[in-house]
Amino acid sequence: MASSVRRSPLERVEYVLIVSTLLLLVVFTLQPLLNLLALSFTEQGKVAGFSGLSIVPDGFSLDVWTLLLQHPNVQRGLFNSIWMTTTSVLIGVMGTALMAWGLSRPGLPGRRLIFLMVLVTIVFEPGIIPDYFLMKRMGLLNSPWSVILYKAVSAWYLIILVRFFEEIPKELLEAAELDGANPFQTFFMVVLPLAKPALATIALFYFVLHWNEFFRSMIYLNDQTKWPLQVVLRQFVIEGDKIAIVGANNANNNIGLAQINIRALKAGMIFITILPILALYPFILKYFTKGTMSGALKG
């Protein structure tokens, strides 16, 4: 629509208004985050007077970040989040790809039945109490595997991959077969390399899903040492349990972490939790946008 028509003054005013409205939305979106980021770098003595409107640190200090990153609860949470998310993503991508491959083969006996079975799971979820009792029965309560394995293969991402595999040209597969490849070899040596962009998309979907997961960890894991970062953050920021981070002894005697303003500690904690998302954000944008634009309704 980039026309070379000269724009009237009215049109220019309209354009400025449109851009300003969108910039306002950008401010509304980013200001609260930037404020917390600035707060986490603000000098200890100035935290109390730090304005909620500011996005520039008042003085500069790494105290909050160093103290938080040295804190055993934070370190453990970070460690748990990283290994649990990585394992979930690997299991999820492999499980989804293998199942999608079978389901994408047109002649597969029972194909329709399995599809129906998958669709039913999208529309009917019996709720958290039956899930909880299932975990209990399987002896997985208080084990990180309850969270890692729970719904490891997503129906939505499965359908996306099936659609992708259905598009793979038949000739490529027939060629592999003629070379004497069995179905396993065909899958691992022909299909998977072809599907790299789709697999990357699914991997990022799973990554965001599992990194942000807190509910199952919260109800299945009693032992605080097994908590991922999101649950540690929740206990500190949402439930306001400052003892968890500051320590009872420090809080009582106002030493160590207790000397730092709780507000700044919370801000730092929020940012540690979203750091991996921010680090992968360029890739997330690229692949999520493509995945969503190409017709998948859910992202």
């Binding site: 799971t121 019996p126 958290i128 909880y132 359908i159 807190f214």
Partner: protein
């Protein structure tokens, strides 16, 4: 492959449609055997397909364990749960208790109110955002704006709630600082029963207005450019083009997403509410999901909680399937 038999055909348990060949061979045998492929084709089928089933096995097992076993566990809704098993079958008694409890109706009302508010106030925002983004001529500027407003979609509700608690803090939150500067009294939005539902609405807009606009933007980009050229020839200005070309072009997408949203009416978003709930606002934003959670995992009323969960699951399923069918019928696009 032989052609399938025309008309109504029985499908065997493995999903096979018997072919003319197998049908001809089986004529005159017992009716049951007609439903199964003959042993020769069965063996050939197994030889051909077992590797695919082997590859699908982990996924299939996950689906059965995480989605189908819980359906069996949900029979608890019809039982009296005892500390020492077995449980006793009580039929619909738990549902009677549930439906005669005033809290249940309060919770149901909260759920409907919050979902209604979200449909009314959250749903239109991404449409407007997409229309505005489409007017940006420079692709670079548009891309930058998009990357900024998409970000919150990828943050967890724990994080978003933490952000909003800070943003709305009565002492040093940005909103109250502006408010006091303008001469108003500060309001503790998170612990105010009159404002907390609006906090849910605003935080939902914060999280999804940007990202959800992507679907509409995709629909706008798919509109035939010739329509705009024709409109320009007719001397249409910006708003006329939006009104007569862009909006009609995205009506199917709007309809689809609206119907699908209706299908989710009973899920007012557990993850959001559970992170925004506190002792003061709890009763105002207690929804079906948080009710089930509290009843089951805090109070230990397992059977009653399961019954409430099952109620939500069944009504939810009816809503989703209906909305899917309606959407398919009207716009050709469904949930799946």
């Amino acid at each position: 492959m032989a052609e399938p038999i025309e008309g109504r055909v029985a499908v065997s348990s493995n999903g096979n449609v018997p072919t003319r060949d197998t049908h001809a061979r089986n004529v005159g045998r017992e009716s049951v055997s007609r439903l199964l492929p003959s042993s020769a084709t069965l063996r050939a089928q197994v030889r051909q397909w077992w590797p695919y089933y082997a590859m699908m096995a982990p996924g299939l097992i996950f689906f059965i364990i995480w989605h189908y076993v819980p359906i069996w566990e949900a029979k608890m809704a019809f039982e009296q749960v005892r500390i020492i098993p077995p449980n006793i079958w009580v039929g619909l008694k738990n549902f009677q208790v549930l439906f005669s409890s005033p809290i249940f109706y309060q919770v149901l009302a909260n759920t409907l109110i919050i979902s209604g508010m979200k449909i009314l106030f959250v749903f239109p925002v991404p449409i407007i955002v997409a229309l505005l983004l489409n007017e940006i001529r420079s692709g670079k500027l548009r891309g930058t704006l998009q990357s900024a407003i998409y970000l919150p979609h990828f943050l967890s509700w724990v994080v978003i709630s933490g952000v909003f608690i800070a943003l709305l803090s009565p002492t040093d939150g940005a909103v109250n600082q502006i408010q006091t500067a303008l001469g108003f009294q500060p309001v503790s939005y998170m612990t105010n029963t009159g404002t907390i539902r609006w906090v849910l609405v605003i935080s939902e807009i914060w999280r999804s207005a940007g990202w959800d606009s992507l679907l509409y933007l995709a629909a706008i980009f798919a509109i035939d450019p010739q329509l705009y050229e024709a409109a320009e020839m007719d001397g249409a200005n910006r708003w006329q083009k939006i009104w007569h070309v862009t909006i009609p072009g995205i009506v199917p997408t709007i309809a689809t997403l609206f119907i699908l949203n209706m299908g989710m009416f009973l899920s007012a978003d557990l993850n959001q509410v559970i992170n925004m709930q506190n002792d003061v606002n709890a009763s105002t934003i207690d929804i079906l999901d948080t009710y089930v959670y509290r009843l089951g995992l805090s109070t230990g009323e397992y059977a009653l909680a399961t019954a409430a969960g099952l109620f939500k699951a069944v009504i939810g399923m009816i809503l989703v399937v209906t909305s899917h069918l309606v959407s398919k019928r009207l716009t050709g696009k469904g949930v799946w």
